[in-house]
C-alpha cells in the first residue's frame, strides 16, 4: 500500500498518464529512431507544462510583459536604422536640436520627452531594455549553472566537500551584496558583462546553492540513485544523469528569481553612478538625480517614471513567472488536480 496523506485524492487510475499517453512504438516496423522519440516526448512535456502554466493568469500576464520588453529591446536598432536620426536619437550622444527647453516634456517628436542633456527618453528606455535582458539572463545562467553543480556535488559527496562548499556559501551570504559590489566597482572598471558574472558567481555559490543542495539531498537518498550505483554507474554518471536533471525544475525557478535580483542590483549601482555602462534604466534615474530633478519628480515625471516603472515591471514579471513555473514543476501547489 502506498502511504498517502489523508486528504490526497487517489491517483488518476492505474497505469494512466496524468498528461496524455506515452508514445506507443510498433517494434515490428523495423528500426526505431530513439532521437525522434525523445524529441516527441520533450515536445509533449513542454506542451503539457504550458497547459498548466496558462492556468495562472498572473503568470501569463507577466510573460506578456516580458515579451513586450523583449519587443522593445528588438525595436531599438530597427528604429535607429529607419526613422530615428542617430544625431538626435542616440541614447547617449544624441541631442534634440528641435527643442531648447531641456529636459523637455513629452511631445510628438519625443513621446517621452528628453532628459537634461537633451537626449530622447524613449530611445534610452528601449536601448536599456536590451542591456537588462543580457545582464539578467547572463547572471541567471551563471548562477544556476554554478548553484546546480555545487548543490548536487555537495549533496552527493557529503563530508569534507560538502562542508567546504557550504562554509563558502555561508561566507558569501554573510557578505553584504550591494556594498561588496560598490567596493568592487571602485576597484575595477565594471561593465555589464563583468557585473553579470559577479552577480552570477555570488548567487551561484551563495544562497541558491544551499537551496538546491537541500533539494539534491532529498534526491540523493532515493532508491534509484542506489540502483544506478548497483548497475555500475560512476559518481559522474549519478550526478549528471540522475541528480542534476531532477534539480533542473527548481533551478529554472531560481533562474527567474536571479534575473530579478540582477536587474535590481544593476539599477542600484547605476543610480550610484558606479558602473561603466553606456545606458541603463538605473543610469537614466541617476542622470535625473545628478541634474537635481529627482526631488521635483512631479514636475519632471518623464525623467523618472518610465525608467522606474520599467525596472519594477520587468523585475516583478520575472519573479511572477517564477512563481507560476513553481506550480508547473511542483504539482503539490496546483489548485485542483487528480
Amino acid at each position: 500500500m502506498i502511504e498517502r496523506p489523508p486528504n490526497q485524492p487517489p491517483p488518476a487510475g492505474e497505469g494512466v498518464s496524468l498528461f496524455g499517453d506515452a508514445p506507443e512504438i510498433d517494434l515490428s516496423r523495423g528500426r526505431v529512431d530513439l532521437t525522434l522519440v525523445r524529441l516527441r516526448m520533450a515536445w509533449r512535456t513542454l506542451r503539457d507544462g504550458w497547459a498548466v502554466f496558462v492556468e495562472s493568469r498572473i503568470g501569463v500576464l507577466s510573460l506578456a510583459i516580458i515579451a513586450v520588453f523583449a519587443l522593445m529591446a528588438f525595436s531599438h536598432p530597427i528604429l535607429m536604422a529607419t526613422v530615428w536620426e542617430p544625431d538626435v536619437y542616440d541614447p547617449v550622444t544624441g541631442y534634440a536640436f528641435d527643442r531648447f527647453d531641456h529636459p523637455a516634456p513629452p511631445n510628438w517628436r519625443h513621446p517621452l520627452g528628453t532628459d537634461s542633456l537633451g537626449r530622447d527618453i524613449l530611445s534610452q528606455l528601449l536601448f536599456s531594455a536590451k542591456s537588462e535582458f543580457i545582464l539578467g539572463i547572463t547572471a541567471a545562467l551563471v548562477t544556476v549553472g554554478i548553484a546546480t553543480t555545487v548543490g548536487a556535488v555537495a549533496a552527493y559527496y557529503g563530508g569534507l566537500v560538502d562542508s567546504l562548499l557550504m562554509r563558502l556559501a555561508d561566507l558569501i551570504i554573510a557578505l553584504p551584496g550591494i556594498s561588496l559590489l560598490i567596493v568592487l566597482s571602485a576597484l575595477f572598471n565594471l561593465n555589464l558583462f563583468y557585473l553579470a558574472l559577479i552577480i552570477g558567481v555570488l548567487g551561484g555559490f551563495g544562497g541558491t546553492a544551499i537551496i538546491l543542495k537541500s533539494q539534491a539531498l532529498s534526491i540523493r537518498v532515493k532508491p534509484y540513485i542506489e540502483a544506478a550505483r548497483a548497475a555500475g554507474g560512476s559518481h559522474f554518471h549519478v550526478i549528471f544523469v540522475h541528480i542534476i536533471p531532477n534539480l533542473l525544475p527548481l533551478s529554472l525557478l531560481y533562474m527567474m528569481f536571479t534575473v530579478t535580483g540582477a536587474i535590481f542590483a544593476e539599477a542600484v549601482l547605476s543610480f550610484l553612478g558606479l558602473l561603466d555602462i553606456r545606458m541603463s534604466w538605473g543610469i537614466m534615474i541617476h542622470t535625473a538625480n545628478v541634474g537635481g530633478y529627482l526631488l521635483s519628480g512631479a514636475n519632471y515625471w518623464w525623467l523618472v517614471i518610465p525608467a522606474g516603472a520599467s525596472i519594477t515591471l520587468l523585475c516583478s514579471a520575472f519573479y511572477l513567472v517564477g512563481r507560476a513555473l513553481d506550480e508547473v514543476v511542483n504539482p503539490r501547489l496546483r489548485r485542483h488536480d487528480g
Binding site: A22, L27, V37, M41, A227
Partner: protein, 340 residues
C-alpha cells in the same frame, strides 16, 4: 551454517557492519549502531534464501553489503560466480574486499539488487527504456540498437507486453505492479547470477503481489538466479524461499529449510513472529505472541543474547553468557539460543 552440496555461490562469514552515531567532521564517533553483527551463511547457486525480520533488524544492510553498496566493518564475503555470457569475469572465488575499481564494475554484472519501493526506485524523469538500459549503458554493453532489442526482449520476459507500449512510458504512467516488473527487468538485464531482492512485494497490492512473486520464481528457475529475499512477511518468504533465516537486532537467530522452520520453530523470537501473523482463515485461532516490549536500536548492545530483554524463556545463563552461538539442533536447522 552451510548448505550441503556444491561450493556455495556466496559464502558469508562473520559479517559485521557498524554505523557511527553523532560523528561530526572532526569528532570521533563514540557509539555505534551494530546493524549487522557476526552474520554467517551460505547461498548456493539458484537457491533462494529468505532473510526475515522486523524493521531495523539489519536485513536490508546485509543485502546492501552483499551487493557492495556498503562496505562491511568486519567479516568476509566470498563469491564464486560462474563465467558470465558477456564481458570479462571474476575468475574462481573472490573476496568482496578485493573487488575494487574496474573489478567492481564487472562484479555489478553478477550481483544485482531489486529495491522495495517501486514508486521511488525509478527516476521519475526517465523512461522505462532509459531505466532498463542503464546497466547496459554504464557497462558499455552493446550499441543503441542492440540495447533497444535487449530491453524489448526483457520487457517481454517480465510480462510487459507488447514491449513497444511500455518502452517510452515514464514511471507515473505505470501501476505499482508494472513498476516492480520494470525494476526486475533492470536487475536482470545484464544477466546476474545473484540478486538481492529487498521486500519487492511489500508495497504492492495483493493481486499484483502474487504476479510479481510467481514472476520472480519463474525467472529464477529459467535463468538460474540465486536470490537473497529480504522480507518482513514470513508468509511471503514461505512461498519464495527454499530456506529462511530469521534476524533479530543484527543477528541471525534461526535458520532452516522453510517448511521445517514454520512447522518446528525453535527460537522464541521465531515463535513470536509466527504467532503474530494474522490470517483470514476463520478456522484458525492463534495464541498471542508472548513477548514483551518494543524493538530497540542495537546501539552498543551488551554482550549477552540480543533477545534477552524480551525473551519469555530467559534464564540466569542467558544473562551472564555472550550471545549464543548458532548450533545445528536438527539437520540443517540452526538456532542461536541456549534454551531452545
Amino acid at each position: 551454517m552451510s548448505n550441503p552440496g556444491s561450493a556455495p555461490l556466496v559464502a558469508v562469514d562473520g559479517l559485521t557492519k557498524r554505523f557511527p552515531i553523532a560523528a561530526g567532521l572532526f569528532r570521533k564517533p563514540t557509539s555505534f549502531i551494530h546493524a549487522v553483527d557476526d552474520v554467517s551463511f551460505r547461498l548456493g547457486g539458484s537457491e533462494s534464501l529468505g532473510l526475515v525480520g522486523e524493521s531495523g533488524c539489519g536485513k536490508t544492510t546485509v543485502g546492501k553489503l552483499l551487493v557492495k553498496l556498503l562496505e562491511p566493518t568486519g567479516g568476509n564475503i566470498t563469491y564464486r560466480f560462474p563465467a558470465p555470457a558477456v564481458g570479462g569475469h571474476l575468475a574462481g572465488s573472490v573476496e568482496a574486499s578485493n573487488i575494487r575499481g574496474r573489478q567492481l564494475r564487472v562484479f555489478r554484472r553478477q550481483a544485482q539488487m531489486i529495491f522495495q519501493d517501486p514508486y521511488e526506485s525509478m527516476n521519475p524523469r526517465r523512461t522505462v527504456y532509459d531505466t532498463i538500459a542503464e546497466p547496459l549503458a554504464v557497462q558499455g554493453i552493446g550499441d543503441v540498437v542492440g540495447r533497444l532489442d535487449r530491453v524489448s526482449e526483457i520487457l517481454n520476459l517480465v510480462g510487459l507486453t507488447p514491449a513497444g507500449a511500455f518502452l517510452f512510458r515514464r514511471p507515473h504512467e505505470l501501476s505499482g505492479g508494472q513498476r516492480q516488473r520494470v525494476a526486475i527487468a533492470r536487475a536482470l538485464v545484464i544477466g546476474p547470477s545473484f540478486v538481492v531482492a529487498d521486500e519487492p512485494t511489500s508495497m504492492l497490492d495483493v493481486s499484483s503481489r502474487t504476479g510479481i512473486m510467481s514472476l520472480m520464481q519463474e525467472l529464477a528457475e529459467r535463468l538460474g538466479i540465486a536470490y537473497l529475499y529480504i522480507t518482513h512477511d514470513l508468509a511471503v518468504a514461505r512461498y519464495m524461499c527454499h530456506r529462511i533465516a530469521v534476524m533479530y537486532l543484527g543477528k541471525i537467530v534461526e535458520m532452516a529449510e522453510t517448511e521445517e522452520l514454520l512447522r518446528n520453530p525453535l527460537h522464541p523470537y521465531t515463535r513470536a513472529l509466527l504467532s503474530a501473523v494474522p490470517s483470514p482463515d476463520p478456522m484458525r485461532r492463534r495464541e498471542p505472541p508472548n513477548i514483551e516490549g518494543d524493538l530497540s536500536l542495537p546501539i552498543d548492545p551488551p554482550a549477552r543474547c540480543r533477545f534477552y530483554d524480551r525473551c519469555p524463556m530467559a534464564t540466569e545463563r542467558c544473562a551472564n553468557s555472550p550471545h549464543p552461538p548458532a548450533e545445528e539442533k536438527a539437520p540443517t536447522h540452526w538456532v542461536a539460543c541456549y534454551e531452545a
